[in-house]
Symmetry: C2
Subunit: 384 residues, 2 copies
């Protein structure tokens, strides 16, 4: 087989050859001088991507491990938390908080709708006794292609002392997120998204206010204990043997990210979003999210009446080796998702749109072949 696949998932994403080569280095002593230099360099690099001077810790786990770390490090069983949920990953915060003994209150939106910051303000204003210890939400809700307005939610806290915990796993380095300027207490990222390396690392930023809660938290934790991570970081180590090959990759991918610059990266992802939206409009496909809250990292398209999500996804894989995602949970069967983040370029995406267009046509969907591709190409030509 050719191994020539176009991976248009909202993670894992394709890995650049530079990063592949960097990962192919031999293992080193994780408690030696080379590992110390590596850990400091990548941690400082990740801080730049988070736009923060807060502490940042890189843990060996999937993004969900980072979400668990954010929960178990600040919760005392019985603590009240507010989860603002508009998709599958919002539900995951509910499950994790419950697993660690929190008293969970949920503001729930229809999947595909963005969060309304006024609702957060309303709930926190009602909480005169300041019982709510933390508010949890997604930056980019991977399951729906909605980008939430994290800055507005942060401002909606007003004088309420609740921490703001943001799952930015699929959004960071694709859409703007300013940890310091927006006053975000804990932000979680994952390696297999716009960081362009394979899955297995998750990074968390921790504000000073969050640290006060980390010190007092009594939920069960060991592997993800940020107090241990901090103690070992001070000597240039991690508490447990970290995924060194992924750290080698992260060092290289951070160079690529910082060479391109965050502003350019955000513009590029905006263009991808516009390409998919233009193609969808030309093909009479309906999008799940409202345009003003559409994600620059992943686009969710409603399955046209009479077609099946499985047929579309399977035929794309079989006929063209193009990989896109189906819907999750409640949206299973109802949407398909095209990931366009990290190491994907305009021509990759155009190839994916071409394959999708032909596949829809073959499955009997009534469109003019070329219409979607033409519209997307126009966006690519204009550069945005």
């Amino acid at each position: 087989m050719w191994e020539k696949q176009i991976l248009l998932l909202p993670g894992p994403t394709q890995v650049p050859p530079r990063v592949m080569r960097a990962m192919a280095a031999q293992q080193i002593n994780h408690r030696g001088p080379e590992a110390k230099e590596l850990l400091f360099e990548i941690t400082e690099g990740v801080k730049k991507v988070f736009q923060t001077t807060n502490d940042v810790f890189i843990l060996t786990a999937s993004g969900t491990g980072g979400m668990e770390a954010a929960v178990s490090n600040i919760i005392c069983p019985g603590d009240k938390v507010l989860i603002v949920s508009n998709g599958s990953f919002g539900e995951r915060f509910v499950q994790i908080c419950r697993a660690f003994g929190a008293d969970v209150e949920v503001i729930e939106y229809e999947w595909g709708k963005p969060i309304n910051p006024d609702d957060v303000a309303f709930h926190l204003e009602k909480d005169k006794g300041h019982l709510i210890k933390a508010v949890f939400l997604q930056h980019n809700e991977t399951s729906t292609g909605v980008l939430n307005d994290v800055k507005a939610v942060s401002e909606a806290r007003g004088n309420h002392p609740a921490l703001l915990v943001v799952d930015a796993i699929s959004g960071l380095a694709a859409a703007d997120l300013q940890v310091d300027n927006w006053d975000l207490d804990i932000v979680i990222s994952g390696s297999q998204k716009a960081f362009m390396i394979p899955p297995g690392l998750t990074a968390l930023s921790v504000s000073e206010r969050a640290w006060e809660m980390v010190e007092k938290a009594t939920a069960s934790r060991f592997y993800f204990d940020l107090r241990l991570a901090k103690k070992f970081y001070e000597k240039g180590q991690t508490p447990f043997t970290p995924a060194l090959s992924l750290m080698f990759g992260l060092k290289e991918s951070l160079k690529i990210i910082l060479e391109e610059g965050l502003e350019n990266i955000f513009k590029r992802h905006e263009m991808y979003k516009n390409m998919v939206w233009a193609a969808a409009e030309a093909l009479n496909l309906e999008m799940l999210a409202p345009r003003w809250a559409a994600s620059p990292a992943v686009s969710a398209i409603k399955v046209p009446p009479g077609l099946s999500d499985k047929d579309i996804v399977n035929r794309l894989l079989e006929d063209y080796n193009v990989v896109i995602a189906k819907g999750q949970g409640k949206l299973s069967g109802k949407i398909i998702r095209i990931g366009h983040l990290g190491y994907v370029d305009g021509l990759d995406l155009l190839a994916g749109i071409t394959a999708l267009e032909i596949t829809l046509y073959r499955l009997g969907y009534d469109i003019e072949i070329g219409a979607g591709v033409h519209a997307a190409e126009e966006v690519l030509r204009r550069g945005g």
Copy 2:
């Protein structure tokens, strides 16, 4: 720099070029057909190395994450557990069990001494009410170079229903461990040891008896919840995006392991142990472990009087790019440790012994240059 380093750590260990190349493959859909085939293949391969037909789950985490999974999946807060500890990793079980609310009883040995199975029998016989839910111990205690007699400890349980949980992270695929024949309930391994891939994966085997406790356990868990792992495995997936590049590597390293065969691998590691012990004897170096309980994966040598562990380890790195480990915790400053597991061969180890001999000589230790190397070479020539 040449990047030509001889890594003689008890993990991370060197990665074979075949495995490096396998890891350099592009990412795939972790919920697609290729990932399903991969997950089933490596899980079946790992079962062969564990010598088990029990369920095996591969999780994305360091080995300590696997230890936490073994604890949090079987404990209800307040449950009594017995930890048989003879080193730093025994202490880690104590910390994890306490973090998850267990009532911990410890049988503690001087570091460097092996576990006495009779002590376990004595403690379990006293427990007429069967309050002890599980017994925890290390197979190979990485911090001391002691190989515990896991089979004898298992037999020492007699009719007591306590589960036996074995940390075999640094011992598995270096020393024999028969999960089914020895009736071991939960066994934990790590990727960066004799599995010869980088850190970031941990695998656990779970017996039927252990499953009954997993279903009833009430300790906080989410990321490491084995019920989720089982549910997703049934459809050929992991609950969360796994470290795919390490899984690509594991597929290749399992081929290497099964081509060589477990019996041959164990013999090879026995030879490495004998090489180090022969060299140590010839150089009048004192070993920490008794010979009959010495590990085939890592050898701990007492620092000769008047010398410093740091000087030895640093000079080996600076002068020869040979990496060995210092002591941990209570043994800090008192021992040096030579790892000889996984993708290391007799000539690598002989080179390391040569560098150590010269370094000791330069640091003023009174030896005849060549004596240690000659003794080790004799073992290599005899093949054991």
